[in-house]
């Protein structure tokens, strides 16, 4: 609450100004737990994918021939798994951040958070559309690297409206995606690293930096 008096020291006034400018343009309440959650969900998704692929190849070897139905089945399962992982990771990340916002007594929907979200989602949706076309035409090898690159670009784009640290996570994701392009067979490993491990590390670093010292 701003108390209206005329006896404020100029230092305090400047502090107020800086605080309001920052709060009105940046969404600073991202929780470290959101990153940890997203990372764990992604890792879980990768483990299920590995299992699905392994089962598929086992059946393939047993049969000795390619089976279209089995292949289409695998493709659908992987697609729905990917969508589920995305939704569960996002929903959990939102809830952890909502909890932090509530604790700080702030509102989750304000100009800053809307800008942050819009800037994050624009590259992600553009990338998602491209990835749908890759899946449609069967260009599997580009799916994993594109996910990483566009997600990284989303983070870099959104970093202007939130904690600066997110920018570096974005750079690493883009770089990982760039490398992954040349190792198409290792896509799932790059995915586990980029979406799983990196998120967990990032979440822990953020938690130590911003959340740990906050009163509960």
């Amino acid at each position: 609450m701003i108390i209206d008096t005329n006896e404020n020291k100029p230092q305090d006034t400047l502090k107020d100004i800086r605080n309001i400018m920052e709060r009105s343009t940046r969404f600073l309440s991202l929780s470290g737990w959101s990153g940890i959650w997203a990372g764990l969900v992604a890792l879980g998704g990768c483990i299920i994918s590995f299992a699905l692929l392994q089962n598929y190849y086992q059946r393939y070897d047993l049969r000795g021939t390619f089976n279209t139905d089995d292949y289409l089945n695998l493709r659908n399962n992987l697609f729905y798994l990917g969508i589920s992982v995305f939704v569960i990771a996002l929903a959990g990340a939102y809830l952890f951040t909502l909890r932090k916002v509530k604790k700080q007594g702030l509102n989750v929907w304000n100009t800053a958070s809307k800008r942050f979200l819009a800037n994050l989602l624009i590259p992600i949706f553009a990338g998602g559309w491209m990835i749908i076309s890759f899946l449609y035409f069967g260009d599997w090898q580009y799916v994993a690297p594109s996910c990483l690159v566009f997600y990284g670009l989303g983070l870099i784009n959104a970093s202007k409206f939130t904690l600066d640290d997110i920018r570096y996570l974005g750079f690493i994701e883009v770089a990982l995606g760039g490398i992954c392009l040349f190792f198409p067979a290792l896509g799932l490993y790059f995915w586990s690293l980029g979406f799983g491990i990196l998120h967990i590390i990032y979440g822990i670093v953020m938690w130590r930096k911003y959340d740990k010292n906050e009163k509960n």
Binding site: I2, T5, P10, L14, I17, I20, M21, S24, T25, T111
Partner: protein
Amino acid sequence: MRKEIEQLNKIFDSRLRIGIMSALVVNESMNFNELKALIDATDGNLATHLKTLEDNGFIKVQKGFIGRKTNTLYAITKAGEKAFRSHLDALEKIIKNLG
């Protein structure tokens, strides 16, 4: 020192008005509720200060609608930005002289 204090704008004596100006100087426009949440003021108090700033030509008000609900947007004017920046400069000078 005296000269700098005289340069401080009397209209920006209030922390609420300073708050409004700080938010509007870095945002293209904000509506009433966004300002209210940011500055944590009561409706009446915020409206009074917005009116003062508007009367001084520091902010402009644009009445619009979202569906059937009124959505009033506030934005800073050129004059407002200039006045606010020179107020900040004066504040900075005072702090420098103190230190």
